[in-house]
Symmetry: C2
Subunit: 270 residues, 2 copies
């Protein structure tokens, strides 16, 4: 049985989508058809959406779920009146918080993902540019300016993780792929060992690495299980020798890897 879910907001809808996803992940035996509806910021749009709710209810044979973060009372009441199970995600928190903080909420919508602090937004954009310019070990001479440097064998997940850390946390994340040249030399180049305190090693199971490399160069020596095993073993030896913290990316998402790194970068280790 399919059940439609709408994530609705008067602005980006990112909060509704994030909390909504989290809640749905507690009920993963159900096949949810997820529809993202940002910028429902007029009564006309809200009415059009109630029409879509009705269509979904008829198609699925059950009323859709609506996850909403809506500060506008009139629009919220239009949506709540539709044929749906309506969950307003802000409602229960704003008043208690207001009470605890002793001030009234601004009730302005669309603040959470807008540019409210230009300096921190600029920092994120600069971090993205830095990550792009320092991907794949392009400029080891820039590592001194990095907040952190990820290293690991080819296709161990360095690039997506660097981009995630830059976009979300404004961290200047560079990465250095360990290559045959390093293995032959028996060590990292000096630019890498010189920033040992900001290095993170990514490792991965050989079978998984083989699958990822096969996508890139099917049937190659590069993608063979033997080569993957040898690369990983030699990379892990290097991590060990330099006491570099290691994360295994085999079954972790970039969000999970990034959270582990962030925890460590900020010294939140106990």
């Amino acid at each position: 049985m399919k059940r439609t879910v709408f994530f609705v907001s008067e602005s980006t809808g990112i909060t509704a989508e994030t909390l909504g996803h989290s809640l749905l992940s507690q009920f993963d035996s159900i096949d949810f058809e997820q529809v993202y509806m940002p910028y429902i910021n007029t009564e006309l749009r809200a009415q059009a959406l109630t029409q879509r709710m009705q269509e979904a209810a008829e198609r699925d044979g059950v009323r859709p779920l609506v996850f909403s973060t809506m500060l506008d009372d009139r629009i919220r009441e239009i949506l709540r009146g539709g044929n749906c199970y309506f969950l307003e995600l802000f409602e229960g928190f704003v008043d208690p918080l207001s009470c605890e903080l002793g001030i009234a909420p601004s009730r302005r919508s669309g603040r959470s993902h807008a540019i409210t602090k230009p300096s921190s937004y600029t920092k994120r954009i600069e971090a993205i540019n830095f990550a792009m310019a320092n991907d794949d070990g392009m400029r080891p001479d820039n590592f001194a300016r990095a907040d952190l440097v990820l290293t690991g064998v080819s296709r161990s997940g360095k690039t997506p993780t660097c981009l995630y850390l830059a976009i979300h946390y404004g961290l200047r994340a560079a990465n250095y792929p360990i290559t045959e040249e390093d293995f032959e030399r028996g060590d990292f180049p000096t630019e890498v060992t010189g920033c040992r305190h900001k290095l993170f090693g990514l490792t991965i199971e050989a079978q998984r690495l083989k699958l990822i490399r096969e996508e890139r160069r099917r049937g190659s020596r590069y993608a063979s299980l033997e080569q993957c095993q040898a690369d990983i073993r030699r990379a892990e030896d290097l991590f060990k020798r330099h006491a570099i913290p290691v994360l295994n990316t085999t079954s972790q998402s970039i969000e999970e890897i990034s959270s582990h790194i962030l925890r460590s970068v900020k010294g939140q280790v106990d």
Copy 2:
């Protein structure tokens, strides 16, 4: 007055942070010191955190706020017992949802940002690789394989937006910078006009563009107000001629721009 806020979870904490940020943005006259605490997944870590709460309370002269998404009852009760104003963000929603859906929640933690569907995770990683390989008009022959192509003058926000769309929504987003060559030719190259239906034009106010370009090449002709104005005017003429939808990025974040694009890509326009 400063007030400390902890975002706490037994896994990545992304949901706690996202909803917490949204709620705090309603009280933007207060200076919040935000501390991100993922992977509070043992009683020991929870106890260490209550210690930090106490320190924050003494330092700030007021108890800290805690935004938590915690499924483990014992850990949650340890945190709630600390010197803090504790808000559990899942609690109020899981039971009503369970009732509406007619099934029990799994109560497994860390599901929302884990790799629960390998196929959709792989799609995201492939989209990131695609965005990296097709940044800055590097391979216009690949535009046929793109889900969408952003175009605009240099520094109008194309690259960060493409990366965000790839990372979060698994969209294969390429971008094409409009250059002097295009202006001289008086049109886009055929690879661009050939995918007109998936083009989005980004535009920006000249004063803002000048500031961004100054960061890159201070005092250059490229960063002069006259050049910025001329580039923008000619780019907007091209957008108009080809009926390309246009977004103004001057005061919009990449999250806001992406949400507008997503709304349009998915045909959610009314």
